[in-house]
């Protein structure tokens, strides 16, 4: 069964996509690195960013972590607080 997952966007990724969240199809067994590839395909401009990490439910996620439909997923471009 196919569902969708929402990805929160901040900073430069929000500016590049023009949206503060995007929805992507979520197949069973989709990992963090799969989602990053999908994001790059959907938004080629993301390739110009130095690094992109994914947070799942408010924690930095490993590339092989699997995603579930109700996870809160966020794309984290290089941070620059302080």
């Amino acid at each position: 069964m196919n569902s969708t997952i929402s990805v929160l966007l901040f900073g430069i990724t929000r500016d590049l996509t023009g949206q503060s969240a995007v929805s992507l199809p979520l197949a069973d067994g989709t990992s963090v690195s799969d989602l990053l590839s999908q994001m790059h395909q959907a938004y080629p401009a993301l390739a110009g960013i130095r690094s992109l990490l994914i947070a799942v439910n408010g924690e930095y996620a490993e590339a092989d972590q699997l995603l579930a439909q109700h996870d809160e997923v966020a794309l984290i471009p290089p941070v620059s607080g302080g």
């Binding site: 929160l8 901040f10 130095r50 966020a74 984290i76 941070v79 620059s80 607080g81």
Partner: protein, 136 residues
């Protein structure tokens, strides 16, 4: 105490919070908006945060600092929104019995915030703008 706020940071209130009869040393780090980046004139900074994760990551840093140094009290306050030249963007305050631990913990906290906490700043120049650190 950890906070993300749209309001100006009150240094006196932070000092009162940190003071106690056991605190022989109180160290502050204030990050302040500068009027230029590599000589390019800056008009203002715009900060944005992933609030819930920014708070939890700052809490992790504070917890790690408390494991390494005998901290009596600490405060970490980060601004978000639009900041003008001269405004305080971040305040770190650490109270300890003796000064060495206060200096070291304060530096550890600000250095780690810059590496892990999901807060982003955009420099708005008089002729353009740029997200800091975003490009190779």
């Amino acid at each position: 105490m950890i906070a993300l706020t749209s309001d100006p940071i009150d240094v006196s209130a932070a000092l009162r919070f940190l003071q106690s009869d056991q605190a022989g040393a109180i160290d502050f780090f204030l990050g302040v908006v500068r009027d230029n980046t590599q000589e390019r004139p800056v008009d203002r900074l715009e900060y944005e945060a992933y609030d819930r994760m920014a708070i939890s990551e700052m809490q992790k840093i504070a917890d790690a600092a408390q494991e390494q140094w005998p901290i009596l009290r600490y405060t970490i306050i980060h601004r978000k929104g639009t900041l003008q030249i001269g405004e305080i963007a971040v305040l770190i305050g650490v109270a300890t019995a003796h000064r060495a631990a206060a200096f070291e913990a304060c530096r550890y906290i600000i250095d780690t915030i810059k590496q892990t906490v999901p807060i982003w700043k955009k420099e708005v120049f008089t002729n353009g703008e740029s997200w800091v650190n975003a490009h190779p």
